[in-house]
Symmetry: C2
Subunit: 719 residues, 2 copies
């Protein structure tokens, strides 16, 4: 038989010819399969896809989906039907594709990034992501996408909090909680002029071009509004155990990890009333949803089968515990989307899980910077900010000896703030956050640091995407670190040859959530009492409105590995006298800390004021709104010195605290140092940067800045 | 008009119907393009592809290739013609695809790996690589593929040295040297029953499934034998400069970075005589080839145009300096193969080079372990060795507390030996190679080590693919390291959570090329004189056939960062007395070196013998054929101890050298240590491993091993 709504007369060859021409031009794609060794005969003109509504067969599973999936019936043999049934529609060249994702919490923002990387890796179209997020995820993702600067990618945010009331009335047992249900309200939430959208769970991974998925909208009949892949488990068939009563569904039902939505039609069809009615009615007899939105989507589809366009199984290969997915992937020559829809995620038991895990790990560890590539085929405006950067970079002189330095200063690093869950500190007027930055070779410092500093910390980590995963594993393996909820880790992704030390400090500083910050370095261990002592001092000294000061924490160092950390100033002084401790960099850079006046500190009972001097770079406690570090200082040298100059220029008092101290532990020079200390141009460039810094300084502070210029007259080596 | 050889009668609708059906079934693929917004009208039935021999047009460029490339004529507009002209043939599901690559020298083996990674990433078919290599490249690649264990990948090697005589008579100016010319002799070199092969340069990167390229064989007419992409520069048009006389070619000619060869037909057609004749004739008037094999291929094609099947430009996007490739990639939505065919490679000047570099870097830094995935669609036998490993892994008990340890022992690590160019040492009877292993966090040691040890070194580096590139950059940036030609670096790719210290030592040991080895650790600096002193001692002590001994190099340590290395034993003793040096691990593990008898060493003028004792782990010089390290000891602890036990069990004398010493420098504990020292099960598992080791020992050495068992009775902490 022929599809409904087409003339059934077959007499005249001319007419058949006409039909074939239509077939030829409209559905030619699937002749790839007709050309296949055995696909041809399987499809007479009768099965020309057109309106394809699932016809429920005796076994209760939607035949439509069987026809589409193909792979589900084992007898079909080697040829991958999903390639050719339905006919492959034309890919939408340069069309803007819309993707909606619900993403809440810190961990899900990491999952989302992996999903987005897999989509970007294969995509050839401009993309617009519509993200339903809570405040936490939004802060993280806004910064991330802003600094990622991927061409032809747009992002919009929608507040999950506002949507909660619309779904909170639904009792739900699924681990995704309320957020799982929010997919139901997308038609009402997304812009009214948005007609089509692909909806994805954060636990899916793409292995193909998302435009191929988008192209499947072309198969929707004018009645169909939802595209879904059949559920690859027997859950909805029921009777998995005694009293197992799933929500109603067509046969195995459908999985909602990947959805094509015709928003326009859903709105017309009064989707909101539709699903609410169904849900309300089912909830009269069922206690709650077990699979969140999926139960409700299935119940609605069971009631209105014509709404659904079943999609080929390869578009949602479900790796749950008792998955039937093998029927799909064992036949398919290429998988399009993997769905980690078990609560165990990658730890799911599945004899082929390694294969899929590799696909996932590919993008987990993939260098996201490599995705900053334009779409040749489809010219599009550069991402916001990218143009200035490009212009500035273009103005650089490649022959300039300091080219590498200037290029590094202009580099915009991808930033993933609050990479791990965090409990924001309670607002306390004198609280202090320890601020520092590190690269992977300093991870070992973290445990000791946590033992010495119980207070909040804001740490910027300079890592590659792969190192970020190493860092995750490191934290998970450490009882000390996983116990801490008040340490904020901000991943700044590596790019360029020079270590952007001050950009890192500024990221950590900007993310500090307490009124005061202790600007430290990762290889210093503070006195055990320092956190309490600092808060007490801030209070006693009435810092803040009344007094603008930077509290100096005197710095010491040990050259030994194994040494017992002094529990008091008295013990510290003893070690100092015994020669097992020194004042910091006493041997090679005394002027860095000399102004702290260690002799006076020995005796001091109360805080005392010291004067700025050239090359002074103490570790200080200042209000969070203190001046930022000068990002022009990359690599190593003079990065802290410049900041102290800035503080002095802004008339911060320098007050040394008599009981405060921190001790520098020895370590091998970092890769970054050893690479650039060795470079001959290094010192010359540093000098050039210093000069420019001072010029800006006098421009900014006028005569007041004179002393810094004169101090510069006797140039010294880098700090 | 209709294609040649088909009835021209158009009267009966039935006939047209028939034709259309033929078109429908045979050439359906290209209707993707007919369905495209504007492609349709451009192709009448007259251009139904069938036998497509290039017809040279007035401007001398092969029209066939123009028709195929499409993108080359700018007016064609947005639609990517390469998708649809020629019709896309069916992909060869599960067919074994053959790929031939000429690869000589150490650097090219690194390039080859990147190419292979890109092919494996997208492939869905079994692959057989046919590699024409010199001895050096073969050693590297045999080990690499053997340890890579990628399912459904086979590799055959062909000796480039044997092929040289066949091409060495051709004067050649191209940077690829003789090896470039060897592609010409592949038909005679590859197995006679091999009918088709894809030939690739090592400087290409795949961005698509190689099966799509293989499928283009289907377009060959029965006359065509070579598939090539047009050259994307004006080189062959000539007159680029005064007296620029390129070899003859059809129009722009063709590029031979990517070739489809019908070997069977080439052999029939007497290819060997054909190209030799042409080359000989051209060389009467031309001094030499400028572009190696490419000049000769083009000259032959110019003479026999019907031999060539032009391929779509996207299959060889050439990024040479004055490339015309933009015409190709600016239209193509989908690039298939990038060709870095400029001598500058990635440093080529091209306004879009960043885009392509990202594709390249993707695979350069891609974790090759992730490519160890089976092809679901196409079951194939596991790679050699993989089965035992799988069986052994399957026998492990996941509940066993030491599961992680046992799993790590069984892990087969991908190994890339001689990662950087190396000059093998001249054979000298008493020469000694320093053997050690390291991970990325010890790179900083390399320069100092090179200054202290002028002799040959064999170092195993435990790295990720990305870290291997970091290592390369580090060496390039270091004058000291790049100057050395006698340091062999062997990259062992990271896999698993525990540091496989003894597997690494065994890799470095197996690659040592001198009769003796100094088994050291990366954080030790030998006395400046040690290399000479060891060789002299070996000679004086008549080691070798006459005497089976292990020469002990006494170990010391400093806990300070900045200290001046003693230039003599006298200076060392002074530092020892002044307390700025200690005997190694004097504080926390004295028994590790106590048997060396430091008191006696102070006074000793001549080598003296010492006895083995429990937990002794000196650094020793032994013949290269000494026992291997026991790979069961992973992570940290007891790895050297077990090796010394083995030496003693095999009755090596332990001779301490009076003038020899090495000093351990302080460093932060490595990530690997800190992660596993902290793990509670660590010590228990280590104890279990020790027990098993001793059981094997007594099994192997019987009563003689008794002393080791008794020594074990008082268990101690890990070394």
């Amino acid at each position: 038989m022929l599809p409904r709504g087409r003339p059934r007369a077959l007499g005249a060859a001319a007419l058949l010819l006409l039909l074939l021409l239509i077939g030829f031009f409209q559905f030619g794609g699937d002749v790839e399969c007709e050309r296949g060794e055995r696909g041809g005969e399987r499809r007479g003109p009768g099965s020309f896809p057109g309106p394809l509504t699932p016809r429920v067969s005796t076994d209760g599973r939607p035949r439509g989906s069987a026809a589409l999936d193909g792979e589900l019936s084992a007898d079909r043999g080697g040829h991958n039907r999903s390639d050719c049934v339905p006919p492959r529609p034309p890919l939408p060249k340069c069309e803007l594709l819309h993707v909606a994702i619900v993403c809440a919490g810190q961990n899900s923002s990491r999952d989302l990034v992996t999903l987005v990387k897999s989509v970007l890796f294969y995509r050839k179209n401009p993309l617009h992501f519509h993200l339903v997020t809570d405040t936490m995820a939004r802060n993280i993702l806004e910064m991330l996408f802003h600094t990622w600067m991927v061409p032809a990618v747009w992002v919009s945010f929608y507040d999950a909090e506002e949507l909660k009331p619309q779904v909170s009335w639904i009792p739900n047992k699924h681990y995704s909680g309320l957020y799982g249900l929010m997919k139901l309200v997308l038609p009402a939430t997304l812009p009214p002029d948005l007609a089509r959208v692909i909806v994805l769970d954060t636990d899916v991974t793409f292995a193909s071009d998302i435009a191929e998925l988008w192209a499947l909208f072309a198969h929707f009949s004018d009645k169909q509004v939802i595209g879904l892949v059949e559920n690859q488990s027997d859950w909805y068939l029921g009777n998995l155990w005694r009293n197992h009563r799933p929500w109603p569904a067509l046969g195995r039902g459908f999985n909602t990890g990947v959805i094509l939505l015709r928003l326009d039609r859903l709105r017309q069809a009064g989707w909101e009333q539709m699903w609410k009615l169904t849900a309300t009615r089912e909830l009269l007899t069922l206690p709650a949803t077990s699979l969140a939105d999926q139960d409700i989507f299935n119940a609605v589809i069971k009631e209105h089968p014509r709404l659904v366009q079943p999609l080929p199984c390869v578009w949602n290969v479900q790796l749950s515990d008792h998955t039937l997915a093998e029927r799909c992937y064992s036949e398919a020559s290429d998988l399009k989307v993997i769905h980690w829809n078990s609560p165990k995620k990658l730890r799911v038991k599945n004899k082929h899980v390694d294969h899929f895990r590799n696909l996932y790990l590919t993008f987990l560890e993939y260098d996201g910077n490599l995705l900053r590539r334009e779409l040749f085929g489809c010219p599009s405006p550069p991402p916001s900010g990218a143009e200035q950067v490009q212009r500035a970079l273009a103005q650089l002189d490649e022959e300039d000896a300091c080219f590498e330095f200037r290029q590094q200063q202009l580099t915009v690093h991808r930033v993933h703030v609050t990479f791990l869950p965090l409990e924001p500190p309670l607002p306390r007027p004198h609280d202090v956050t320890l601020v520092a930055q590190l690269s992977i070779d300093r991870l070992q410092m973290l445990e000791a640091l946590c033992r010495h500093w119980p207070g909040p910390m804001s740490l910027a980590l300079y890592l590659t995407d792969a190192e970020a995963q190493q860092f995750l594993r490191f934290v998970e393996a450490s009882a000390v670190l996983s116990a801490r909820q008040n340490v904020a880790y901000h991943v700044v992704y590596r790019e360029g040859p020079l270590y952007p030390v001050n950009q890192l400090r500024n990221v950590a500083l900007a993310q500090a959530l307490t009124p005061y910050v202790f600007l430290s370095d990762i290889d210093f261990l503070p006195a055990y009492s320092l956190y309490d002592y600092l808060r007490a001092s801030i209070e006693q000294l009435k810092l803040g409105r009344e007094r603008k000061a930077a509290l100096v924490v005197p710095a010491f160092e040990t050259l030994r590995y194994r040494f017992s950390f002094p529990s008091s100033k008295a013990e510290l002084l003893a070690l100092l006298d015994s020669g097992s401790l020194y004042t910091f960099r006493y041997h090679e850079w005394p002027q860095g800390h000399a102004p702290t006046d260690y002799a006076r500190w020995r005796e001091a009972q109360t805080p005392y004021r010291v004067q700025w001097a050239a090359d002074y770079e103490p570790y200080v406690v200042v209000p969070r709104d203190c001046p930022r570090y000068d990002p022009r200082f990359v690599g190593f040298g003079w990065n802290k010195v410049a900041h102290i100059v800035e503080l002095d220029a802004q008339e911060y008092e320098l007050l040394v605290l008599p009981e405060a101290f921190a001790i520098h532990l020895p370590h091998a020079p970092s890769l970054d140092i050893s690479r650039f200390r060795s470079s001959p141009t290094y010192r010359d460039c540093l000098q050039a940067l210093k000069d420019e810094f001072h010029q800006d300084l006098s421009r900014h502070y006028g005569a007041a800045a004179l002393k810094y210029l004169t101090a510069l007259q006797q140039p010294r080596g880098p700090a």
